[in-house]
């Protein structure tokens, strides 16, 4: 799935990384707990979260993720946007809640492969 499809499915606003929307992604995860993302996620390209602080971007960078979707209309700070731009990451913002946003992407074929427990 292309990031542009994620944007359409979630009716999301592109905050930064607009020139990377053609990038293909094959899996995603949703979490507000960055420690869990670090523990259980492997080879996932998209993070859905309602958490807003610079560690969200740094955590995604550590996991080689290419896109963060902020749910519940949470808006990243300027510092976060700058960090994401440095790493060539796409930031999206949707008004949908976590459950619905994850459900829509999963139903459209974006799986959760690579999660290890």
């Amino acid at each position: 799935m292309k990031i542009s499809q994620i944007q359409e499915l979630l009716e999301a606003e592109v905050i930064c990384g607009g020139n990377e929307l053609d990038k293909e992604v094959s899996s995603a995860c949703g979490s507000d707990m960055m420690s869990d993302v670090l523990a259980y996620v492997k080879d996932q390209a998209v993070l859905l979260t309602g958490l807003v602080n610079p560690q969200v971007v740094r955590t995604a960078e550590m996991m080689d993720m290419v896109c963060i979707v902020f749910v519940r209309s949470k808006a990243p700070t300027e510092e976060m946007i700058t960090l994401a731009e440095e790493h060539g990451m796409v930031l999206l913002k949707t008004s949908k809640r976590m459950y619905e946003a994850c459900g829509k992407l999963y139903a459209a074929g974006l799986g959760a492969k690579g999660v290890t427990v």
Binding site: D32, M34, S35, L51, R58, M62, E79
Partner: protein
């Protein structure tokens, strides 16, 4: 075996929002050196959790990353309160982090377990009231 490269960082304990900066820099440096991506991920995640821990629990500290021919060592040193029960701290889900840290997405009791998970060996030397020294090694082979 001679030491090839060393990176040193002082981790600022006063500002949680800056926590992780050293690990991001290490990741960049390892990329520049042409280290394999899977090794880079292990080193940077292990160090990131350690760095976050130093900020949350110890008021910051010192971090050194040493790159040898066969391994990468991450040395973390702080003068914080020390770990009262290391076996307990190594258990997933055990945390003494305050609520304000949990609201930032950490403090789930996964820090030390993640450091063990992403390194090939870990030694923890901690003394109450004196501080904690951690050595994590990631093999390059």
């Amino acid at each position: 075996m001679s030491e090839a490269v060393r990176f040193h960082f002082t981790v600022d304990g006063d500002d949680f929002t800056s926590a992780g900066q050293a690990s991001v820099q290490v990741k960049k440096n390892l990329r520049t050196l042409g280290i394999a991506p899977e090794i880079i991920r292990k080193v940077s995640i292990a160090m990131y959790e350690g760095e976050i821990n130093m900020v949350i629990h110890a008021g910051g500290g010192e971090a050194d990353v040493l790159i040898f021919e066969d391994r990468i060592e991450i040395h973390l040193c702080d003068n914080g309160p020390g770990i009262a029960n290391i076996d307990l701290a190594m258990q997933e889900g055990f945390s003494t982090a305050p609520d304000n840290i949990r609201s930032l997405g950490f403090g789930a009791g996964m820090g030390l377990p993640n450091m063990k998970r992403y390194s090939d060996s870990i030694t923890i030397d901690s003394a109450l009231g004196k501080g904690t020294k951690i050595l994590m090694t990631v093999n390059l082979s």
